[in-house]
């Protein structure tokens, strides 16, 4: 193989590559060995500390948490996508009184940490008589913050549709609204599908803030479990691996979708593999 940075390796380069391969492999194995030794030295590798995670009740509990994670993620994804679409259309509106508030919302919310929004819903709103149920204490701040992100994705998608498309719609006598709905949005939706999926992965990661609001999603379930059985590092490793499997599958889906979007079908010179 050759790429931007190197040609087909010759004999000397091949030798160097072999050396680097061995060094890299040894470094990784060394790190792993070090970690295993550290676990073993502190008695964290004992079978009875891992055995519980081979039993069904433990997994049933964690999978319950994963279900709550999915529920929170799906509801906030739906809410923030709807709000995001409205904000994106608002930002593109010709009416100033629609455009300015939408733009302000997006720009302000993008610069406030989600955790701060969670604290506001958790501690500030109850003082004004708005004490939401636990589920909504997580879903509302996540939707508020992700709406801004989705708005930017949709705006970029709409902006990427060639002008001629909406001009054609208007030329055949469609109204602005129908042009958007029938011509521009369906095309934009296909283009931004990969970004939407990866933003949704981000949203799923954000649901781990349930840890703060005591909503029993996966991470908080792990916390409860670890407090109960005292297997701190084992529990959190299992929780992390569960997140990894779920999110990696979703990211994989995003890549499959990306390979199928219209732009990607145009031949493009790939410079670097992997």
């Amino acid at each position: 193989m050759s790429s931007l940075l190197f040609d087909e390796p010759g004999p000397r380069a091949r030798r160097r590559i072999r050396i680097a391969t061995v060094v890299g492999a040894v470094a990784v194995l060394g790190l792993l060995a070090l970690a295993v030794r550290q676990f073993a030295a502190n008695g964290q590798l004992d079978a009875d500390r891992w055995q519980p995670y081979a039993t069904w009740p433990m997994w049933r509990y964690l999978l319950n948490g994963l279900w709550s994670t999915a529920l929170a993620a799906v509801v906030s994804a739906a809410l923030s996508m709807a709000a995001g679409l409205a904000l994106a259309l608002g930002r593109l509106s010709r009416r100033r009184w629609v455009r300015v508030p939408a733009a302000t919302y997006v720009e302000v919310v993008r610069t406030v940490p989600a955790l701060l929004l969670v604290y506001v819903v958790l501690f500030a709103l109850p003082r004004y008589g708005l004490d939401l149920p636990l589920f909504w204490k997580l879903v509302v701040p996540l939707s508020v913050s992700n709406a801004a992100a989705f708005a930017e994705i949709f705006r970029a998608g709409i902006g990427s549709i060639e002008r001629g498309q909406s001009e054609a719609g208007l030329a055949v006598g469609l109204t602005y609204g129908r042009t958007m709905r029938l011509i521009v949005l369906p095309q934009a939706a296909r283009r931004v599908l990969p970004s939407i999926v990866s933003q949704s992965v981000g949203l799923l990661k954000d649901t781990s803030l349930g840890f703060v609001v005591s909503y029993a999603e996966l991470l908080y379930s792990g916390k409860v479990l670890a407090t109960y059985n005292g297997l701190l590092i084992q529990t959190y490793i299992v929780v992390a691996l569960t997140y990894l499997v779920v999110n990696a599958s979703l990211s994989k889906l995003a890549r499959v979708l990306e390979a199928r979007t219209p732009q990607a079908r145009r031949p493009r010179r790939r410079l670097i593999r992997a």
Binding site: M1, S3, L4, L5, F6, D7, P9, A13, I17, A20, T21, G24, A25, V28, Q38, F39, A41, N42, Q44, V108, R110, T111, V112, P113, A114, L115, L116, Y119, V120, F123, A124, R127, K205, D206, T207, S208, L209, F211, V212, L219, G222, K223, A226, L232, I233, Y236, I237, V239, A240, Y243, L244, N247, A248, S251, R269, R270, L271, I272, R273, A274
Partner: protein, 214 residues
């Protein structure tokens, strides 16, 4: 408003901790990100694999899970470090994956001829990376890097959830004492917005000066 002014010292300390978190973890993330990118574009298959695995792992794990694992889990295997250091290391490792991804797309955007020209001049892999490819790649990734910096700023707030008394945690503490949420949280939000605005200003300047139109 007085709730905010009475507790300026607490806010100030929180802000300092937040700025420390931002500066230290961004510096660390840039260094690790560069190393991972170099591995991902190298001709050595094993290194490419390690780089890809690194990016995949860290991009698919919630930062809060990593923070919880490091803060509560690592002491269990005898690794003890101060809370702030642990938070900085975790945030740096996490954001490095995003920086590596941005840099790689920057490298990908460079025309093949540039690399061929560098080799034709007899530059080695390291030399062509350093003198030809990276300077151009960096110029194309200023805006994504700015976005990563802002995301990192927002993400440092999560350190507050595992016990670091940063700006978010300080705001929360003051609110628990004063019970005046509006001025307190708006004040903290403004501080974050200000940091983000500064980053936006700097990257905008840099972009106008350095970006290459191809």
């Amino acid at each position: 408003m007085s709730a905010f002014l009475d507790h300026l010292p607490e806010f100030w300390e929180g802000l300092i901790v937040t700025l420390q978190l931002i500066a230290a973890s961004f510096a660390g993330a840039v260094v690790v990100g560069f190393v991972i990118t170099a591995m991902r574009v190298s001709p050595v298959g094993v290194l490419r694999g390690i780089g890809t695995a690194y990016v995949e792992t860290f991009q698919n794990l919630p930062l809060l899970v990593l923070l919880v694992l490091a803060v509560f889990g690592l002491p269990e295997i005898g690794i003890k470090a101060s809370l702030l250091v642990t938070a900085v290391v975790v945030i740096a490792l996490y954001e490095a994956a995003y920086i590596a991804e941005a840099l790689r797309s920057g490298v990908n955007s460079i025309a093949v001829g540039q690399g061929e020209a560098a080799r034709a001049l007899g530059l080695t892999f390291g030399q062509s990376l350093r003198h030809v490819v990276l300077p151009q790649a960096l110029r194309t990734v200023i805006q994504p890097m700015g976005n990563i910096f802002i995301a990192l700023t927002m993400n440092t707030a999560l350190a507050g959830a595992v016990g670091v008394v940063d700006l978010t945690a300080a705001a929360n503490r003051v609110n628990l004492m004063e019970a005046q949420p509006i001025p307190i949280f708006v004040g903290a939000g403004l501080a974050y917005a200000l940091i983000a605005a500064c980053v936006g200003l700097v990257t905008g300047r840099l972009e106008r000066r350095l970006v290459m139109v191809r």
